[in-house]
């Protein structure tokens, strides 16, 4: 599944395409399960040059209670910086924000620790 996102030209705010308009909230984003439709929406957005900077498609996945971007970077864009929880979209609060904040991505590795065996 894909979602179309961009930054707004005038202020850089992260926005998501609902299918009809640009929303500041990830929860409003329209989801594409069809690559051709997603790419058509992206191509249309690339034409909106006085409104947007750099529209692109992101992967999203189903998580408990809804949907979230697969990559941590995109979850951060949908929330705001983790060092200042009163800045960015997360400041608004709400269930959709809580869902994104608790989502996990595709990576399940715990890292390669415990490598050296003690005798």
């Amino acid at each position: 599944m894909k979602v179309l996102t961009a930054n707004r030209l005038t202020d850089g705010e992260v926005v998501f395409w609902t299918g009809e308009a640009w929303s500041e909230r990830f929860v409003d984003a329209g989801r594409y399960d069809n690559d051709a439709a997603a790419e058509a929406a992206e191509a249309h957005a690339k034409g909106q040059t006085t409104l947007l900077v750099d529209p692109y498609l992101i992967d999203v996945d189903e998580v408990a209670g809804g949907w979230a971007p697969v990559s941590y970077r995109e979850r951060l864009r949908a929330l705001g910086p983790t060092n200042k929880l009163d800045h960015g979209k997360q400041a608004r609060g709400g269930e959709d924000i809580a869902l994104l904040a608790h989502a996990h991505g595709a990576a399940r590795s715990k890292g390669r620790v415990d490598l050296i065996r003690r005798k």
């Binding site: 005038t10 202020d11 006085t50 910086p81 590795s109 715990k110 620790v113 003690r118």
Partner: protein, 552 residues
């Protein structure tokens, strides 16, 4: 300090007016983003994850109180009431709106500030020893030479489209506080027995994907030839630097591939063909700039201050602050006071508008109106009377700026990382906060002693991780954050690149790993050894085992 003259002010006003028109054309759709992006970058405006980021130049890290107050005002009016000081001694505002940019540039220009030379493949904003003009170990004031290079390099037509960005650092002291070996050009001033000044010229340092420490390409360059020699270096680079591969475009790659001897030969050859008199600075102009940095306002004071000594005796907290943050000044009865922007649990380098205003007030009252920015993301009050240090400490403490941790384990460099930066792979700030909280006890931190932790959220190394005693590099694995540790780096006189400790760790294992590394150090250290000394003597193995061995 140098005050902008009529020409400087005109340049800034013209530049702001030009960008106002460019913004209007972009917003009206008369320019595409591809056309506009290089123009906004030349004015320090980047698009990051959540908003635009404005990088404001602070040439050689020097600010007047009025300039710092203006930065506070701009941050409050157009951003979210804070700014982030960087390892390049610039200030970044992270929540800027494009539509406000023309007004912001006007505001900055009103106090001689701007965002020129903060982006693009030009000669970037200069850095210099933050102790300039205040330390006894310098042979001249490096700000004079940094200002000379600033005036020469700003909008230099030949060097505005180099193969890649170009950074220089200047010091005149025996101790390197400007990280000159990791710059494209590092300049160190020397004075010979007859009193003549010369530059030791180092070329080809840098961090990033392919880190290099710079070699010396000329041992002693008479100072009067500084500009013609810099021109010769830049001409060789401009001619032969690689424009086909962005990862190999910095001068460090050219110097490494030619070898320092051949690179130096080419520079000398270019220089021999140069009409030096046409390029080098006239003595009258040098004298004008030198006069701007002449010491003034110092009083004749005894070396020992009774109020300072009394405050140390009566207050253990003040005594600790004096030990950690206060340094000897070349002028009797004065001190340099470091202002740590590393309060425990806060974002390294961040400073609120209220804090900036408080520091501006303190500087005006107690530090001859001057503030410095250090590449270690702290501020410095360079000229404080010892008698006034207790009052300065109290005023700093009132705004949360009296953390006594300079050069200790919680004085961590961290880039903005994935919390803000569009290039980052992983966050740097929360890792720094975790480590600082773990070592929040000032007595424990002081017992551990000098330990420089430097964190970058990606391989571009804005957080100088290669030259941290402990370096931490954020990497991305399938969209999740991991961290690679390096040990044994330094950006100072004992400059070295760190060695990789082992495989990358998940975020929640980083602070515990630092704990294990410190335990090994405390166990193994010999009298007088800092963490890095013990590491260099004892080697990687014991440290590696402490982090990667299975728990019992």
């Amino acid at each position: 300090m140098y005050r902008y003259d009529e020409i400087d002010r005109e340049v800034l006003a013209d530049r702001a007016a030009e960008f106002r028109a460019q913004c209007a054309r972009r917003l009206a759709g008369e320019m595409t983003e591809d056309q506009f992006k290089p123009l906004r970058l030349m004015n320090g405006l980047y698009l990051q994850l959540h908003a635009y980021m404005l990088r404001i130049a602070i040439p050689y890290g020097l600010l007047s109180s009025a300039q710092l107050r203006k930065l506070a005002d701009v941050a409050r009016t157009y951003d979210r009431g804070y700014g982030h000081f960087t390892t390049r001694t610039n200030l970044q505002l992270h929540w800027i709106k494009l539509k406000d940019m023309p007004d912001i540039l006007d505001e900055l220009a009103s106090v001689g500030l701007h965002a020129i030379q903060t982006s693009g493949n030009c000669i970037r904003n200069l850095t210099a020893d933050p102790h300039a003009g205040a330390t006894a170990d310098e042979v001249d004031d490096p700000r004079i030479w940094a200002e000379v290079i600033r005036q020469w390099s700003t909008f230099h037509p030949e060097f505005s489209f180099l193969p890649r960005k170009f950074k220089m650092a200047v010091t005149a002291a025996s101790a390197d506080r400007a990280a000159i070996r990791v710059y494209d050009i590092g300049l160190r001033l020397h004075r010979d027995d007859e009193g003549a000044l010369s530059f030791e010229v180092l070329v080809g340092g840098g961090l990033g994907r392919l880190p290099h420490l710079s070699p010396v390409i000329r041992d002693r360059l008479p100072v009067r030839h500084l500009l013609s020699y810099l021109q010769a270096i830049l001409r060789v680079y401009n001619r032969h630097g690689r424009r086909d591969n962005i990862h190999k475009a910095r001068i460090k790659i050219l110097v490494a591939s030619l070898g320092p001897v051949e690179f130096a030969r080419q520079v000398e050859e270019e220089w021999s063909l140069t009409d030096k008199a046409a390029v080098d600075l006239p003595d009258t102009e040098l004298a004008r700039i030198r006069a701007a940095f002449a010491p003034q306002g110092f009083e004749t004071l005894p070396a020992v201050s009774t109020p300072f000594e009394a405050a140390k005796s009566s207050s253990p907290a003040f005594a600790r602050f004096a030990r950690r943050n206060v340094l000897a000044h070349k002028q009797s009865g004065y001190a340099l006071v470091n202002v740590s922007l590393k309060a425990i649990g806060e974002t390294p380098g961040d400073c609120s508008s209220e804090q900036m205003e408080a520091i501006a007030d303190i500087a005006e009252l107690y530090s001859l109106d001057e503030v410095r920015v250090t590449y270690e993301q702290n501020l410095l009050l360079p000229h404080v009377k010892l008698d006034d240090v207790p009052a300065v400490h109290e005023a700093l403490a009132a705004v949360g700026l009296a953390t006594p941790n300079i050069a200790l384990i919680s004085d961590i460099i961290a880039c903005p990382g994935l919390d803000y930066c569009a290039l980052a792979n992983a966050r740097a700030i929360p890792i720094a906060q975790d480590i600082a909280r773990r070592f929040a006890d000032p007595a424990q931190a002081e017992n551990i002693g000098e330990l420089k932790i430097k964190i970058s959220g990606c391989i571009n190394a804005c957080g100088h991780h290669h030259v941290g005693h402990i370096g931490i590099l954020g990497v991305d694995k399938k969209g999740e954050e991991f961290y690679q540790l390096t040990l044994g780096g330094s950006a100072e006189d004992d400059a070295a690149l760190g060695q990789v400790l082992g495989p990358a760790l998940p975020a929640d294992r980083v602070a515990p790993a630092i704990d294990h590394l410190v335990e090994v150090y405390l166990r193994e250290r010999r009298t007088g050894e800092r963490f890095i000394d013990t590491f260099r003597r004892a080697g990687l193995t014991a440290f590696k085992e402490a982090v990667y061995a299975q728990a019992h």
